[in-house]
Amino acid sequence: MNRHIEAPIDKKEAKSLKAGDYVYITGTIYTARDAAHKRMYDILAEGGELPVDLKGQVIYYMGPSPAREGRVIGSAGPTTASRMDKYTPQLLDLGMGAMIGKGKRSPEVIEAIKRNDAVYFAAVGGAGALLSKCITSSEVVAYEDLGTEAIRKLTVENFPAIVVIDSEGNNLYETAIKEYCRTEENGR
């Protein structure tokens, strides 16, 4: 099903999304990847406060290439989500609404998605030029010293993504593969 949704996302909307839905996201999202996650994790461990209130926020695992003059951003596609798995359950428990990335998630993350009525989207990996066209503003809001890994606030318009793991824990990566698998051993 094709759906238009807004970011930040509320739980009711997140709950209504099903693995396999094709969505266009419009609104405000934040970027964070490896180094920003590690920093947020360390801050939480020390009892500190995060630079962004995560409630309902959509976090995009992305570190862009530099913008050419007069452009909003450079190439801007998703990075592999599993590297964030270690940090994710805690952020979900703090209210993070959704994530956009690519690739598999750990069982712990899937549990946390279910527990918090959240959702995991995939954007097409390696389509950073195309995806950058859906980003209409970009501003570094924290950890500027991390360069491409800083936290950015993005405005997106009709950003295309696919629901891979929904709030019930359905996982498109597993179901879709089975449909096209022609070997006896199957997609494990």
Partner: protein
């Protein structure tokens, strides 16, 4: 006859090649993606392949890198033994080219100076440089920026000789299956069989720079490449890992003599953004 080549010319060419590789996918790669899009059976898979083609047009027309991960620069140098290099040291010249390409070309700086301290070098240096001395008086440069979504899913298997060709097939399928959606399929799979631990890995990397879809000259290896491409595409992983009949665009296998006690196999996975630019000076 000794021919003199200025290392500053190597620098200039590498700079241009880094920029070129990240904005213009080579014709062979574009062709296999187009072909895959025509044949893909899954509607969603087809849609993703169309998006990849659109992405390639936007990248080249508007000079936006094909992918935000503009890679770690892998540089192969084949230097003729009748070449005399003049100027800055070869390694410095290569790294200067990478530095200029990545800073001047609006490419992402994705290299950390120490694997554990992890501070970004801010100019994407150093490159990973493989140099070979060959007959002749030319310098052949291959620049292949490598993304790490797929690099991270690559593997080396030290098989036992008794595991034979079935063991090799299993190793390749295991690596691809485990890579799944993480490696931005459709992938190009580079395989090195034989040699030693490091030799097979290097062969696998070199295999990725082969003209996409061209086959090994060794008949049984060519057959193995064809068989593995079919098997991999039977896994169902599909474009983006979201199901489909296109999981790999090509399988390239290189082989080398090995020890009586060993059967090393390396599988270097590359995504559909399999960048390689070649120039001969």
């Amino acid at each position: 006859m000794i021919r003199t080549v200025q290392t500053k010319d190597i620098t200039e060419n590498i700079k241009e090649m880094c920029i070129e590789a990240n904005h213009f996918l080579s014709r062979d790669m574009c062709a296999v993606i187009r072909n895959a899009e025509k044949k893909e059976e899954s509607p969603l898979g087809k849609q993703i392949l169309e998006q990849l083609e659109e992405n390639l047009s936007i990248a080249s027309e508007e000079m936006i890198p094909i992918c935000q991960d503009t890679g770690m620069a892998v540089v192969f140098l084949e230097i003729g033994q009748d070449v005399h290099l003049e100027g800055a040291s070869l390694e410095d010249a290569v790294n200067e080219g990478v530095r200029r390409g990545y800073t001047g070309g609006f490419l992402r700086k994705s290299v950390v100076g120490d694997p554990l301290i992890r501070e970004n070098t801010r100019d994407n240096t150093p490159a990973v440089i493989h140099t070979r001395i060959v007959p002749g008086e030319q310098v052949k440069i291959t620049v292949a920026p490598k993304g790490f979504g797929s690099e991270n899913m690559s593997r080396v298997f030290m098989l036992k000789p008794a595991e034979g060709i079935e063991g090799v097939k299993n190793a390749i399928l295991t690596a691809v299956r485990d890579a799944g959606p993480n490696a931005c399929p459709p992938m190009v799979v580079g395989v090195g069989i034989g040699g030693t631990f490091e030799k097979c890995a290097l062969m696998a990397k070199e295999a990725l720079t082969r003209e996409t879809g061209a086959h090994s000259e060794i008949p049984y290896v060519k057959e193995l490449e064809e068989e593995m491409l079919e098997k991999i595409n039977g896994l169902g992983i599909g474009p983006g890992g979201l199901g489909g009949t296109t999981t790999a665009l090509a399988v390239h296998i290189n082989t080398y003599p090995t020890h009586i006690a060993g059967l090393p196999v390396a599988v270097n996975i590359c995504c559909h953004v399999n960048r390689h630019v070649v120039r001969v000076l």
